[in-house]
């Protein structure tokens, strides 16, 4: 099953990128995620590995994932190493007026599970779709808030400079 959702964020692409790739932020903006732990020495970038679990129905599903594409600040993709088969992708595209189009794709399944696997994927799809939408809305809210704080800090600095 392949799901895809997108949102427009009123913030520059680099700011969104920096927020997305930081593993410590994952639990704050990713809906349904119960674990997002760095595995190994590399915390971010190509080859970084995470133990990621999502709560879907009766179980926390996921497993070990590895970043297989890291094209700053455009694309980040991961693929599963263990656990259920999954591929995820963040796709960031620059728009006018310092806005960014953020697309989140997730494909999942269990190879060899047969008809039951197909049914389970379809049954889980509405829940996963909700998680994707909520993830993007939370990301938008948090990044735009970050931008607001950054702008405020810049204005404060300018005022302080003028006063001096």
């Amino acid at each position: 099953m392949r799901l895809s959702e997108h949102v427009i964020i009123s913030a520059p692409r680099q700011l969104v990128w920096d927020y997305v790739i930081e593993p410590a932020n994952a639990l704050h903006y990713m809906s349904g995620v119960t674990r997002w732990e760095v595995q190994g020495a590399r915390a971010k970038g190509l080859g970084a590995r995470y133990r990621a679990l999502f709560r879907v129905g009766a179980a926390e599903v996921g497993g070990l994932i590895e970043v297989v594409e890291f094209d700053e600040p455009c694309d980040l993709a991961w693929s599963s190493v263990t656990g259920i088969d999954q591929r995820g992708r963040w796709r960031l595209r620059e728009l006018a007026d310092d806005r960014t189009r953020v697309e989140f794709r997730l494909a999942y399944g269990v190879a060899g599970a047969g008809i039951a696997g197909l049914i389970a994927e379809a049954v889980a799809a509405p829940t996963m779709g909700r998680h994707l939408r909520r993830t993007l809305h939370q990301l938008k809210r948090q990044v735009e808030h970050e931008k607001l704080r950054a702008d405020a800090a810049r204005r404060r600095a300018e005022r302080a400079k003028t006063a001096a």
Partner: protein, 344 residues
Amino acid sequence: MADPATIAERARRNGGDAAGGEERSSLRARLGPAAAAAGARRGLGAASGSVGHAAGALARVGFDATRILGKRLAEGVSERLAADLDDRDPDYVRERLPLTWLFASLWYRAEVRNLGNIPETGPVLLVGNHTGGNLAPETFIFTLAFSTYFGVERRYNQLAHNLVLASPLGPFLRRFGTVAASHENARRALEAGAAVLVFPGGDWEVHRPSWQGSRIDLAGRKGFIRLAIDRGVPIVPVVTIGGQETGLWLSRGDWLARLLRLDRTLRLKVLPILIAPPWGLDIGDLLPRIPLPAKVTIEVLPAIDLAEQFGPHPDVDEVYGHVVRVMQDALDSLAAERRFPIIG
């Protein structure tokens, strides 16, 4: 059919009777001559042309056929019981996760909490309260939750009653890591570094009346504590509620099991009497039935490090009392959360 020597070896490793295995193999060797003798007797009866002789020969053929069938059945059962730890197949478990997930999520609306209380690595003894009769929903729900949380790569075994492994589901359960309940099997699984799920209450607890669904009853069985002390592994209590609402258990029927001498012949201490679809009144819980879609909630409690909490030489009775108390406290909390039976 496996090689007789292999069966005997497996039976010996599983704490079974190796001599029984040898006897079985010699019996099998004798089946050929018995069948040949039956054929010879058939020929003799036909040659004489006497009705009496023919009837006698037929009776003997019938007797031989019954004996052969009985022996083959016994061999099949003993082979299923002689489960090996290596029978667990992680790929098989992984491919069955979606089906298990569908049942757990849609039928039982299952919820498994605090799996993070299980140590990330190393052997651990998971001690659960058994619910829901012979279908025991918590067994496959917990297997699903454990396998998705830690990955199918982590070794996991659960111990089950002989009758469960001898059932038609036995071969499938063995691939999920289920082995016959014995001290020896549990010890070997822990030595291999597995997380081992045991239900000390066994058939006594699993068939308790439905109105005792929120009561821990491990039937005073303390073997799991001696095992944990011997192997130096932590005990992690796993508490389930809701299983006893998947049918209406009226009685354990322990008196019936004693009356029919099932306690001696099949290790069955109980012969439950319950009301469950589609049969209505069901005695023994041996026929396939449709479990009621009760909400099942499982909570994993913090690990108990016996040496840390009870010193270098823990007292078995004290540990047993502690384990039962913490499980009962957790079960009381889960029971207080439930508003209605079945609905949860």
